[in-house]
């Protein structure tokens, strides 16, 4: 128990950040699972974070109200921009969501209520570790269940071939918007939790590099299965600590390691690190299936 408390004291904030990043990665996973490449999820997290922070600080709203409002507001914005934007495909969708993200960031820099470029400072610290991981568990459970539901199958068929999905009678606009909105709600919720964890939020935190990081978590972990983004986020968030542990402190090298990992994964493991486990178990079942003949 002593070891555990000590561990928490040293790595507590790292553990919190792993939880936050894993949640954000999951939010993008939902959108990716319907084949939609969105780079707007960091901005949705920003909308959640700022609206929750402003509610708590300026309107003395209870914590729960702030969090829920943050999540819902992100969802509403996603619904509003999702309908027109999701007509775009592939790279064009990515660029449009990127443009949207920049507009949100610039708005946060220029508005008075968000504290401008200095950010929103002095948000009361109300988020605790168990809340983050409760949210993570709930989101994971929800997404895992969704996979085998009508919604999940629809997402998957749109990802595989949108035209074919539409031909089989799936309302692609509805499901694409749904995947975008669910992702935004999870991102907004996470942003709201993050705002009450970190005391200060700044517009830059929700910009382009944050959006790209979420994508990297998903790619490194794998986008075929919900465990992928969790694995990717955990690994890459704790990587700097691990590297520090083995004596690598130089910033450029740490950055380079990130890039090399991403490159190796996309070149050799297109389905992410999760597919390593998948492969191993697939081989095992194959061996088992083969073994009777092997024994003869």
């Amino acid at each position: 128990m002593d070891f555990f408390t000590h561990f928490l004291a040293v790595y507590g904030s790292l553990i919190n950040f792993i939880g936050i990043n894993a949640l954000l990665a999951l939010s993008l996973y939902v959108t990716l699972s319907a084949g939609q490449l969105s780079l707007g999820n960091a901005a949705f997290a920003g909308i959640g974070a700022y609206s929750a922070g402003v509610l708590t600080m300026h309107y003395n709203a209870p914590f729960v109200v702030s969090i829920i409002t943050g999540a819902l507001l992100a969802g509403i914005v996603a619904l509003a921009i999702g309908l027109p934007v999701l007509r775009l495909r592939g790279v064009f969708l990515a660029i449009a969501t990127l443009g949207f993200g920049e507009v949100v960031r610039i708005a946060a820099v220029n508005l008075d209520i968000t504290g401008g470029a200095q950010g929103l400072v002095g948000i009361p610290n109300k988020t605790t570790t168990w809340m983050i991981f409760l949210a993570l568990a709930a989101a994971s459970y929800f997404i895992a269940r969704m996979r085998t539901s009508r919604i999940g199958w629809s997402f998957e068929s749109i990802r595989e071939d949108e035209t074919a999905a539409a031909v089989t009678g799936i309302n692609t606009t509805y499901y694409k918007t749904l995947s975008f909105t669910i992702g935004a709600i999870i991102a907004g919720l996470t942003g709201a939790l993050y705002a009450h964890l970190n005391y200060i939020i700044t517009p830059g935190e929700f910009g382009f590099s944050a959006a790209v990081n979420l994508l990297i978590y998903n790619i490194v972990g794998g986008t075929q299965y919900w465990v992928g983004p969790l694995l990717g986020a955990t690994l890459l968030t704790s990587l700097p600590e691990v590297l520090r542990g083995i004596g690598v402190t130089a910033g450029p090298i740490r950055m380079c390691v990130n890039g090399v990992i991403l490159l190796l994964v996309i070149l050799y493991l297109p389905n992410g690190l999760v597919s390593l486990f998948g492969r191993a178990s697939a081989r095992k079942t194959k061996v088992r299936a083969d073994s009777p003949s092997g024994e003869v």
């Binding site: 990515a94 660029i95 443009g99 507009v103 890039g259 070149l267 297109p270």
Partner: protein, 296 residues
Amino acid sequence: MEVFLQQLINGLFIGSVYGLFAVGYTLVFGVLDILNLAHPAVFTLGGLVALWLVEGAHLSIWAAFPLAVLFAGLLGILLDRIAFAPLRHRADSYFSGLISSIAMAIIFESAALGIFGARTVRFPAGTVSMHIWRFSGVTVTSLQVEIVLVAVLLMVALTSFLHRTRIGKAIRAVAESERTARLLGIHVDAVIAWTFFISSALGGAAGILFGLYFDSLSPDMGRSIELKGLAVIVLGGMGSIPGAILGGVAFGLSEVMTVAITGTSNLRDAVAFTVLFLILLVRPSGLLGRGRIREA
């Protein structure tokens, strides 16, 4: 009126640098349908290497410029070999190519950081001789004129290269249809390598001009132009070279005009990204749409 005219001229100068940068972006997109997010990193390295040649190797800028541009072009070939060529046969190559270009961007940026350090640097005073001309209240420096001349020269060279030479025609053929080009006996891999060489060389040239114009260079300078470049190519029409030039100038003008009208630089990017977002919604093919692209 004089202020207006001055802003118009400033917008043209910076716009020509944006155009040069965006032409490289759009060339790769036109040929491969891949968004090369490592382009900004090549832009940065081009500028930094030119600075090193001037400062470390004591070359004149007129010798350093072509050498650094050559270096940037070679980086492009490296980029193609490592990050794009292995993925070319994949069905989702637009997506995996995007990811591997992000990986290469991280690796290049970390290299820039490791080699040149994190500080902001500038070309030594007197690198380019400075004359200042005034015409009825409007100020033009010789540096500005040189930048525009170099940019225009490079764009004219590119256009005649694409239309007059065998390789240029082959590039346009591959952009039209890779399969048909292959059937006609065009060595597609070599053509793509050429495309990357030219695209990255132009990106590097833009980096040098950018560094000279703003009198500052840093390992993360690519980030400031990365999203602007995207806005420019969307505005002009993805894959269209005249569109990218036109978009660059329009973007440069919109920037200085926004600053001149609002009196602050805060909203400078907001206008641009709102326009980007709206164009994608209303006319995703941009000003000079896809029909024109393929003519390049």
